[in-house]
């Protein structure tokens, strides 16, 4: 799981080529986003939506933004919240699988730096069949419950309002 991409600075901003790559092959990855971290937090969660046309399995993740990236489930056992590392996430053929708050997430531990709204960072997803795919994760506000609005929305390019950590409505 350890990142081999330890390139600093510039490495954090490879967006266009990554976005193109993400659509190639059998796996489509969209809406890669993360929440800005509250002050002092050393962990963060990132989320993506994946559709594997003929079925696949997400087996691992890595990013230069954190020392460690793992796939986690979040479940409620009665009123008790439990997070568990999982070996992989099955991607049934033709079905969109959405990692989101309250469900599966990509757990980032040991952040290289706090995640601030408006920033982005690269994330590599490893698939059993499609191999490694890189995407760009855009960082939303601290309390965001989903990715930024897509085209047509006021902040569709993901570059607006850098540094704004206001709570988001949902």
């Amino acid at each position: 799981m350890r990142s081999t991409l330890l390139a600093l600075g510039a490495g954090l901003m490879l967006s266009c080529s990554a976005a193109a790559l993400a659509q190639s092959g059998d796996v489509a990855i969209t809406n890669a986003w993360a929440r800005a971290t509250p002050g002092g937090a050393q962990t963060a969660a990132a989320y993506v939506t994946i559709e594997a046309a003929s079925g696949d399995r997400l087996t691992g993740v890595s990013t230069p933004a954190a020392q460690q990236a793992d796939l986690h489930s979040m479940t409620m056992d009665g009123s008790v919240m439990k997070m568990r590392q999982v070996d992989g996430i099955d991607l049934p053929a033709g079905k969109k699988v959405t990692l989101k708050p309250g469900g599966y997430h990509i757990m980032l531990t040991g952040l290289a730096q706090p995640l601030a709204a408006g920033q982005s960072f690269p994330l590599t997803l490893d698939f059993a069949k499609a191999g490694a795919r890189q995407v760009t994760v855009s960082v939303q506000t601290v309390g965001a419950m989903g990715p930024a609005p897509q085209a047509g929305g006021e902040s569709g390019n993901g570059m607006s309002m850098p540094g704004m950590d206001m709570p988001a409505h949902h």
């Binding site: 509250p38 002092g40 050393q42 009123s79 008790v80 919240m81 309250g102 757990m107 309390g143």
Partner: protein, 209 residues
């Protein structure tokens, strides 16, 4: 004739008595179930469980000040147990609570948010201070020696346990209910992680008045 008819007559009356008896049993059971559901409908607050949530504790806030349960009285308090290394449910809850309070208008000042760490080993007052400042709400973040935290969790019937990770780190399993305590420190209602900020705000408006 009479001999043979007696058992015949006895059989229907036995059936009748048995039926009536069974009917009474069903009625009694129905009334009991009804009473049970009526009590349940009153909410947890009206039950023994409600009375048992909350209690005395002594912890330290994000500014290093000692805080006890009596310091929290005089305002409505939304009490949530969590930890800062929690990437999902804790920031969601604190953000939702902050947004819910924003909808209370003038009544906002009558409600506080209390975030009690179940991970005091990592959540020092300094760590908590910068953490809660990232949310909009007036959050009192509490931590303390492990036994003091355990005492507070016990008061609130909160379960928490360390769950080791393969990399040597750990996560915390923890109850994720948000308790609404009235200005006298009495348990009044609970929110779940599924409640949105709008739902919370609507319920708070009714409670705070």
């Amino acid at each position: 004739m009479a001999r043979s008819s007696k058992p015949k007559a006895a059989a229907p009356s036995f059936v009748l008595i048995a039926t009536v008896f069974a009917g009474i049993l069903v009625l009694v059971a129905g009334v009991l179930i009804g009473v049970a559901f009526r009590d349940q409908a009153k909410g947890v607050a009206g039950s023994a469980l409600g009375a048992a949530i909350g209690g005395k504790f002594s912890l330290v806030d994000q500014n290093g000040n000692n805080v006890t349960d009596s310091d929290l009285k005089g305002k409505w308090q939304l009490v949530f147990f969590g930890y800062t290394h929690c990437p999902d449910v804790c920031p969601t809850a604190l953000n939702d609570l902050s947004l819910a309070l924003d909808q209370l208008g003038a009544k906002k000042s009558e409600v506080g948010i209390v975030f009690i760490s179940v991970d005091p080993a990592r959540d020092t007052p300094d760590v908590l201070k910068s953490y809660v400042e990232s949310f909009g709400g007036p959050i009192e973040a509490l931590t303390g020696p492990p036994d003091a935290v355990a005492e507070a969790a016990k008061d609130y019937k909160v379960f928490y346990a360390k769950h080791p990770r393969a990399d040597g780190g750990y996560d915390m399993d923890h109850s994720a209910l948000i308790y609404v305590m009235d200005p006298q420190g009495r348990f009044t209602a609970a929110f779940t992680p599924d409640d949105t900020s709008d739902t919370m705000a609507a319920r708070l408006k009714k409670l705070v008045g």
